[in-house]
Symmetry: C2
Subunit: 309 residues, 2 copies
């Protein structure tokens, strides 16, 4: 059994490789829900959706979100009604949010809803939201405090970051199965996701970080920072805003209390020694996932680094 | 000022004629909400939508519901998620229900939401739901009691009708402006709509029927029954189930306490005397609305019958 901690696009690409190496049913993915947002009265879970759509092979890989070949008629009409439509949602994508919101309103937990959506999409992985509780990542910027999606999508990550806060973190509890899967895994993988607003959010939920620290399984992480910048997303701006160095080393340092191995890109091999100085094994390889072959390669290298296969 | 009581398709077609004779801003339409239903967690108001879409000239006239040229991707995806999808909704149509539900959840009343939707669709008519309160038309059939939409759409009006009940009728109050518009109108028109589940529902809301009876303005109705059957919809099955004759006369009889004039189709001229026996004026004309000319003609004849123009 493998457990992976995941954000959105980067994690989804890595998991596409992983499911080609390990049977889907042996994989549990714990997904960030700090990006979740209510828009148009609907509960949207961007990272859960990217993971689900990618593994169900219906994702729009070019856009990096939404469903391949989707249209935007519903959104066009919402625009006509004067609703703000800075968060793009396709017509099929809307169905996910409508159905999720409908089931949540009926009293189901997000983890139960996610399970049902995964089943219907034909997925055998166990995809878990990090928490069933309300949890909102807020970015404190020079232009004010705003929801992470507003910072990223509406304002295109243009505002200088002062801090990142997690609303609801005091009350949030891990979703059922999250801590168990960590404690009973044969290997744990921290996907190449944003260390602040994807993995950082998951680690902030009570009991998750300590479970990782206590887990018997080896823990491998893959650096989302390559050559001093993120492959995708605003990790650099957020890390810098929090006074962190933007490097593989800085990410390893954030994870060092539970990490055994850190997989970094070969362009960052100069950082190897410094990261080893944190008491971690370091593996250097190509971490840029251009095609399925790259993804499978990275999955194999990562698994091997924690003694699987 | 003209006030019209309206159901769905038949009323919408009549109103298309009326707005060509009377300025939109001088018309108030009181619309049946007994058909309203929550599906996919969204508040759907079929009659309000048909009226709005028709007058905004975006209705799918062939289908008789929804928006012209709409696609069904969202519904297809809901089907994939295993949600029952017997109630067809197009992608643009979904935007109406999403936005309505969103505003209702924010605490706005249905009448306020309707006003906002109408403004955005460029309508100058004053379209009012009959009530802002919960009101559900249930059909009691040999196959059980069900929501009117379930009876009509899901089960295609195939079940023998025993009774029709209005859930919420005891507590429902007219929406703001409904009684005022009736009492201050220069003329009142009962559109050619189902006398049981479209007009009958409106009349059942406390104070509306008595306002019609007290109104100084003349009241004209147009028969939805032509030659012993409805132009569209299940009025015959419902009337028969309630032990009523399916005829223009029977409709006139239901309305006689507030009606001054009843407009019937020329094919029903044999019923003229019988209806006059109820103390009503009767006008016979062509009431089948095939094109705009027919609609305008019927609007003119109806208005003339109550002394307008």
């Amino acid at each position: 059994m493998i457990t992976a901690l995941a954000g959105g696009v980067g994690a989804a690409r890595f998991l596409q490789g992983l499911v080609n190496v390990v049977p889907e049913k042996d994989i549990t993915v714990i997904v960030n829900t700090g990006d979740d947002i209510e828009l148009y009265g609907l509960h949207i879970s961007p990272d859960l959706d990217i993971i689900m759509y990618t593994l169900a092979d219906i994702v729009d890989e070019e856009k990096g979100w939404g469903i391949r070949g989707d249209t935007f008629r519903c959104l066009d009409m919402l625009k006509r009604y004067g609703h703000e439509t800075w968060f793009n949602l396709g017509d099929k994508d809307f169905a996910t949010h409508i159905y999720r919101t409908h089931l949540l309103k009926k009293g189901l937990h997000l983890s139960e809803v996610t399970k049902r959506l995964c089943q219907k999409l034909g997925l055998e992985l166990n995809i878990l939201p990090m928490t069933d509780d309300r949890f909102e990542t807020k970015v404190v910027t020079v232009a004010g405090t705003m929801h992470f999606q507003e910072y990223l999508v509406k304002r295109r990550a243009q505002d200088e970051v002062i801090d990142v806060t997690f609303e609801g973190v005091e009350k949030a509890r891990p979703a059922p199965g999250v801590v168990d899967s960590i404690l009973s895994s044969d290997a744990i993988i921290i996907c190449p996701s944003n260390p602040i607003v994807s993995i950082g959010t998951i680690l902030s939920v009570k009991d998750i970080k300590s479970a990782l620290e206590e887990a018997e399984a080896k823990v491998a992480g893959i650096s989302p920072i390559v050559g001093g910048s993120p492959i995708k997303g605003p990790a650099d701006k957020l890390m810098r805003g929090l006074g962190l160095e933007v490097s593989a080393y800085a990410v390893a340092d954030l994870y060092r209390t539970f990490l055994d191995t850190f997989v970094i890109d070969q362009v960052d091999r100069a950082e190897k020694e410094r990261i080893e100085g944190l008491g971690l094994n370091v593996v250097t390889t190509n971490t840029i996932m251009r095609d399925l072959k790259d993804k499978v390669h990275l999955a194999r290298v990562t698994l091997r680094s924690v003694g699987v296969r």
